[in-house]
Symmetry: C2
Subunit: 201 residues, 2 copies
């Protein structure tokens, strides 16, 4: 970034930090990467990274260009009535992605995770630590992590079917209809009966 | 394929047909591609394509190297007790993919659909015509296609979470436990109450 010998402005510094963050997350994974390491790669002080982007989690959200911070959104939904969380989660997800002016960063993230083992590990670690971890802590039950992962499977599947493969009529069904269909699934995964394991005679 | 001037043997002819099929499906989509067109591309008689591979649907399954024909599997599951279809569908899916000696063709198919618009269209058309169409015909209800697409969303999401992103503990949970959790979701999407559309005051 200092190749031209000019001092970078604020936006140049921000971009350099984001570039360094993308490299660090992709190469070391979400868990191993640190704000300190990103700062070193970008040639700036760690305090500056914190100043511009906050925590590692917030830096990740900025680096992969998500339109909203899923961790914050999730916190808001989980603070709601526990019996309504499934429906609210479906509605929030649909409202964000249906209205995202640019869905391409999300699609790029899913594409890279599907196409590349490092990117898959990065996404897996972020989802496991920040997203599923938050749900699991909130639930507090012994099977909380499995429950959270089941929620993740339906949400990722909806993303694939509605926004990526675009299977009709799911791709253009009204959000309210989709939320009504998906909500109870998420609710059951979070707080319902996960069913007895089948035994074969 | 005739570049060396040698007459290809049976396996050479089969490979030439599969190559032509992959090209035809990728370039024209599943709907537009025809057995006749594939035969022409491969430089063989259409009867030979039918002889080796059967219908267009079976040719597609062979071309993308799926370990089983999902359309046939689905037919067997749908012929079962309607109240058990969700569970049986989950069990069948898990048993096939958990035991697939080589999951890479499936992963390659999902990767290409996520990374490339043509491949996404091809997969969308195959799923819509052959998989969801079959479920919808069996259900016969007016919302059958939406129901089938919802089933697809959970199945694709499970595939992503368990086999591609490999989120724990879902990736290594016993199949029976996962089927017990996912089965009722599929059952509800197929035959259950999809919920009233929320109205906001």
């Amino acid at each position: 970034m200092a190749r031209t010998g000019r001092r970078p402005g604020v936006s140049g510094t921000r971009e350099a930090i984001l570039d360094a963050a993308r490299r660090a997350f992709a190469e070391q994974g979400y868990q191993q990467a640190t704000v300190r390491g990103v700062a070193e790669l970008a040639g700036v002080d760690p305090a500056l990274v914190h100043h511009y982007f906050g925590t590692k989690q917030e830096l990740f959200v900025a680096a992969v260009q998500l339109p909203v911070n899923p961790v914050e959104q999730l916190a808001a939904v989980l603070a709601d009535d526990p019996d309504l969380v499934g429906r609210r989660l479906a509605e929030t997800f649909l409202s964000i992605w249906d209205h995202a002016a640019d869905q391409s960063p999300l699609l790029a993230l899913v594409r890279s995770a599907v196409g590349d083992e490092h990117a898959a590990a990065m996404l897996r670690e972020f989802i496991t630590e920040e997203v599923l971890g938050q749900i699991a802590r909130r639930l507090g039950s012994p099977d909380a992590r499995l429950r959270a992962a089941l929620v993740g499977s339906q949400v990722v599947g909806l993303m694939m079917a509605r926004y990526i493969i675009r299977v009709e009529p799911l791709a253009s069904a009204p959000a309210a209809q989709v939320a009504a269909a998906i909500g109870p699934t998420l609710q059951r995964y979070l707080t319902g009966d996960l069913g007895a394991v089948a035994t074969r005679p």
